[in-house]
């Protein structure tokens, strides 16, 4: 029988070990991508824990106009989608979180059920819509299509943030004879910075990472977004797979994302859980 103190000590050790194991499990694949991105030629096929800092793949990618173009496309698509979704969602969240009207529950449920749509279920209808609007093979098609999943989600999360504000804010504004528009823009909007930041980050990441629509609605290389561009890099045969450039491209497009996530860690967590737990 171990003493109380010895048992606590082994417990502490076991927990430390579990933490270390989990950190390695989550970080190692990304570390390996960075490591491989710095290896060229024959080096890539040797398993070394330390990279050699050969920048050849990075230089090649920076000189590739299609790669730079696809990063730009992704930035345009993800930021436009996020901006539009946040603007529309702010109006909706004010109505759903602050105003009383018949049918509120039904509207909320309708938004929620849209966020459960499998993307493939709207694929052929969306294709028709995009062709009809003349947006096929244009990044605008993706901004439109991405509202399908970013808008319901941002409405949902912003509504739960909106409900957290004290009701007295609205009452005071009403007393002063403010219109609903002024109440939203002058009183709530200045307070919503943190909520908009965390919701916007989640929407941005979702739009940045989307693959199925981007693969289907864009035809030519110069209009592609980055996930599809990376997904389609391939060699002439199974044995010629250019893993070096793919890993370098992966590192380039995820590094800003990871830095953003680490800086805004708390905001992201609060956005994710506001949508799911309190809903």
């Amino acid at each position: 029988m171990l003493s109380q103190r010895a048992r606590r000590k082994t417990g502490q050790w076991a927990k430390g070990f579990a933490v270390a194991l989990t950190v390695i499990y989550t970080i190692f694949p990304y570390y390996w991508a960075i490591n491989s991105s710095f290896k060229s030629g024959q080096q890539l096929f040797e398993v070394n824990l330390w990279p050699s800092l050969d920048l050849v793949h990075y230089r090649a990618l920076m000189g590739d106009p299609d790669f730079i173009g696809s990063i730009l496309n992704s930035v345009i698509v993800a930021s436009s989608t996020t901006f539009i979704a946040l603007a529309l969602a702010t109006f909706s969240a004010y109505a759903l979180g602050r105003l009383e009207f018949a049918g509120k529950r039904a509207v909320l449920l309708a938004f929620l059920s849209v966020s459960m749509f499998p993307q493939v279920a709207v694929l052929s209808g969306m294709f028709e819509l995009i062709r009809w609007l003349g947006l096929y093979n244009h990044v605008g098609s993706l901004v439109l299509a991405y509202l399908l999943f970013t808008l319901p989600f941002t409405i949902w999360v912003l509504t739960s943030f909106m409900r957290e504000f004290p009701r007295e804010l609205s009452e005071a504004a009403m007393m002063d004879g403010c219109s609903h528009w002024r109440t939203l823009t002058r009183i709530y909007l200045p307070l919503m910075g943190p909520a908009l930041a965390s919701t916007g980050l989640l929407a941005f990441i979702a739009a940045w990472n989307e693959f199925l629509f981007a693969l289907t609605f864009i035809l030519t290389d110069e209009n592609r977004t980055i996930p599809v561009a990376i997904g389609l890099i391939s060699g002439n045969s199974r044995y010629e797979f250019p893993f070096g450039p793919v890993m370098a491209a992966s590192v380039i497009v995820t590094l800003p994302l990871i830095v953003l996530v680490l800086i805004f860690q708390r905001k992201i967590v609060s956005g994710l859980t506001a949508g799911a737990v309190k809903g």
Partner: protein, 296 residues
């Protein structure tokens, strides 16, 4: 006066909602109805304006296709296995994160990395790590003496789908952890301390206090993850190529639509996917009693 105010409020509410409702009618309701409509026709991508009605024949044709059933069984296996493993792993890591231990901040930060990386990039990284000749996983396993020669993970019929499950677990466990952790932090410490003082062993405290109180958080996380897993596309598409071993229903539907240009048949397959996800949503919401508040 208050009647006037109430009417003004109602009108304002619908005005504020109008832009979002119009956009969602355009990008959700309309395409969904159009997909359903096309599923009743023999429309073709090459000539999408000329078609005739064929009734429910496309739905029957999908059910007659052996590959559809293979994709469906792959999808169901993938969903049950990955959501199951993610839930257990998610609870374990969330419990670990909820304690005062060294390295907690580091763990909390590192757990977000797999979640933030695009799925396509994760798929490529794992494809490289699992490479049969030059992959680091085979190198480590050979070094440890577990295997003698490198395995071609994605080529083995019994392994390919498990590899997809394993990579999905890596990608989405963080999401589970964050939701469950938020639930854990809402549990009052007093109940657990009272049980501790009464000498209730740790595993009993977990089974009869923590787990029941966590039910709503776990339920929501399982619901989100299940619906996501049932419509999974990108991971299998990039990691598995077009292999039948790992084909999901979403890949099957897109292949019919885009690769084979069969708009009618593909739309019918897409509609089956929609029904599958809707059925799962209804079953899970009922089963997990998500519409009722948690007791306790």
């Amino acid at each position: 006066m208050s009647r006037v105010l109430a009417r003004r409020e109602r009108r304002a509410a619908w005005l504020f909602l109008a832009p979002a409702i119009v956009v969602l009618l355009l990008v959700a309701a309309w395409p969904l109805s159009k997909t359903f409509y096309l599923s009743l026709t023999d429309a073709n991508f090459g000539n999408p304006d000329q078609y005739g009605f064929v009734g429910l024949r496309n739905y029957a044709d999908v059910l007659d296709d052996r590959l559809w059933w293979k994709s469906l069984s792959n999808t169901l296996f993938f969903t049950v296995a990955s959501v199951g493993i993610e839930t257990v792993l998610g609870i374990a890591i969330a419990l670990l994160l909820n304690q005062a231990i060294p390295g907690r901040g580091m763990l909390r930060a590192s757990i977000l990395i797999p979640w933030a990386i695009p799925v396509v990039v994760s798929a490529k990284i794992w494809e490289w790590m699992l490479h049969d000749q030059f992959g680091v996983i085979n190198a480590v396993l050979i070094h440890l003496g577990v295997i003698e020669r490198g395995l071609a993970w994605m080529a083995e019929p019994g392994l390919a789908l498990w590899v997809i499950v394993f990579v999905d677990v890596w990608i989405t466990t963080p999401f589970m952890v964050l939701l469950i952790l938020a639930g854990l932090q809402m549990i009052s410490k007093e109940v657990l301390e009272a049980a501790y003082v009464d000498g209730v062993p740790a595993w009993r405290r977990f089974i009869s206090i923590t787990l029941p109180l966590l039910r709503p958080s776990i339920g929501v996380a399982v619901l989100f993850r299940t619906l996501d897993a049932l419509r999974m596309f990108d991971l299998s598409y990039v990691l598995g190529g077009n292999s039948q071993k790992t084909m999901t229903v979403s890949i099957y539907a897109r292949n019919q639509l885009v690769s084979f240009q069969q708009m009618g048949l593909g739309s019918a397959a897409s509609t089956w996917v929609f029904f599958l996800v809707a059925l799962a949503a209804i079953l899970l919401i009922g089963l997990l009693k998500l519409h009722k508040p948690a007791e306790g």
